[in-house]
């Protein structure tokens, strides 16, 4: 039953889903997939400049990575500053906390204008990928 629910949720696109994501305070406490993410896969997504895009704006504890951005706070210590649920909401749709944020909403297609044809109706990451990234970010303890 639980697997079925998770599968049903995954079928919804980010826009429809994001509206139904249970936000509690400044967090989404529950996993988007009903399952925990994989931190190793999450790390790969964070470092991937075409998928996660994170290092375009953020730096982080990745000494092997050249050319990290400085438009946003370092990801180092993200897991001590924020809870898993807080990280999840910031990934899913940071506009809920700050409408002017420059951070893209990784799991929402709401209110976007002139989205390129190749990206229309698609969220930046899938629910599973969000969970992987969240699982990785909580491990960044210092």
């Amino acid at each position: 039953m639980r697997a079925f629910l998770a599968a049903a949720l995954l079928c919804l696109d980010g826009a429809a889903f994001a509206q139904n994501v249970p936000v509690v305070g400044d967090a989404i406490p529950a996993s988007l997939t009903g399952m925990p993410g994989d931190p190793a896969r999450g790390r790969a997504i964070v470092l991937d400049r075409q998928r996660g895009l994170c290092l375009l704006c953020h730096s982080g504890p990745f000494p092997e990575e050249r050319f990290q951005g400085d438009l946003a706070p370092s990801l180092a210590g993200a897991g001590t500053r924020w809870s898993e649920g807080q990280l999840r909401l910031r990934m899913v749709d940071g506009r809920r906390l700050n409408p002017d944020t420059i951070m893209p909403s990784y799991f929402s297609t709401e209110g976007l204008r002139r989205v390129g044809r190749a990206w229309q109706g698609r969220t930046v990451l899938t629910a599973e990928e969000i969970e992987d990234v969240v699982a990785f970010l909580v491990t960044l303890r210092d």
Binding site: R49, L53, L55, L56, C57, R66, F67, Q68, G69, D70, L71, I102, P104, S105, T109, G111, L112, R113, R114, V115, G116, R117, A118, W119, R122, V124
Partner: protein, 250 residues
């Protein structure tokens, strides 16, 4: 309708005040100033600046295409510094490439040159080069004011899957680094320019399309009115910077 103490006029007064109080650093800063010394040297040395080959090509085209029947190169001085202009016939703004195309089609009765093609770029860079060193003095035609405001709205509008506006990077975060690249203020005072990333000469519209694709938005069609409105706003935003055409950029 247009209250004198709102909008661009106020911004201009504020800018003048800022310059008076904080010195010239508060004014617009050309991307030239934040480039590496090597690239600056490349731009400044006409023998090293790859854009100068296109200027030479444009000079030849200017004669071959029959432009010299009406125009001298000297008469082109200052033209690029005040474009885009308002074109009464089309009742709308027109950019330099648009004017060259119009001249060719209406006065010479010849087929249009492709906007981003070698000949058009060469002609544009040759004409714009005649204004090198002159300050940008946006067209004072009052009908351009509406166009500039349209351009500013486009500049501030968030777009694409990544939901970013031009201003969020080039106003709010200029000087910071997007991955390894320093974000410039994004002034259009050197187009057409030679970009190392392109390994070639390109137009402002091409550069704007690059950013639009970068934020995963659908670029406007080449030659679209939106680009000309953006260009008109950018010219106002860069008022006072000198024309660098052909600029060199990373």
């Amino acid at each position: 309708m247009n209250h004198p103490w709102t909008g661009p006029r106020l911004a201009r007064v504020a800018l003048l005040l800022a310059v008076a109080v904080f010195g010239p650093a508060a004014g617009p800063r050309s991307g030239f100033e934040t480039m590496s010394p090597e690239l600056r040297a490349m731009q400044q040395d006409d023998l090293a600046n790859p854009g100068m080959l296109h200027v030479a090509e444009g000079e030849a085209q200017f004669q071959q295409q029959g432009c010299t029947a009406c125009h001298s190169a000297e008469a082109m001085q200052g033209v690029a510094a005040r474009y885009p202009a308002f074109d009464a016939a089309r009742d709308g703004p027109i950019d330099l490439a648009g004017r060259i195309a119009q001249c060719r089609e209406e006065r010479q009765g010849r087929a249009p040159l492709p906007r981003e093609g070698k000949e058009m770029l060469a002609l544009s860079v040759f004409v714009a080069h005649q204004s090198r060193g002159l300050p940008l003095t946006p067209n004072p035609d009052p009908r351009m004011e509406f166009v500039r405001r349209q351009g500013e709205a486009l500049f501030r509008e968030r777009r694409g899957q990544l939901n970013l506006s031009c201003g969020q990077c080039h106003d709010d975060n200029a000087g910071r680094r997007l991955a390894g690249s320093l974000i410039p203020e994004g002034h259009a005072n050197g187009y057409p320019l030679y970009r190392l990333e392109w390994q070639g000469l390109g137009s402002l519209q091409r550069r704007l399309r690059n950013c639009m694709v970068g934020v995963r938005s659908e670029p406007f069609a080449p030659g679209a009115a939106e680009y000309i409105a953006l260009e008109a706003f950018l010219a106002e935003r860069a008022r006072g910077l000198v024309v660098e055409t052909p600029a060199v950029r990373p």
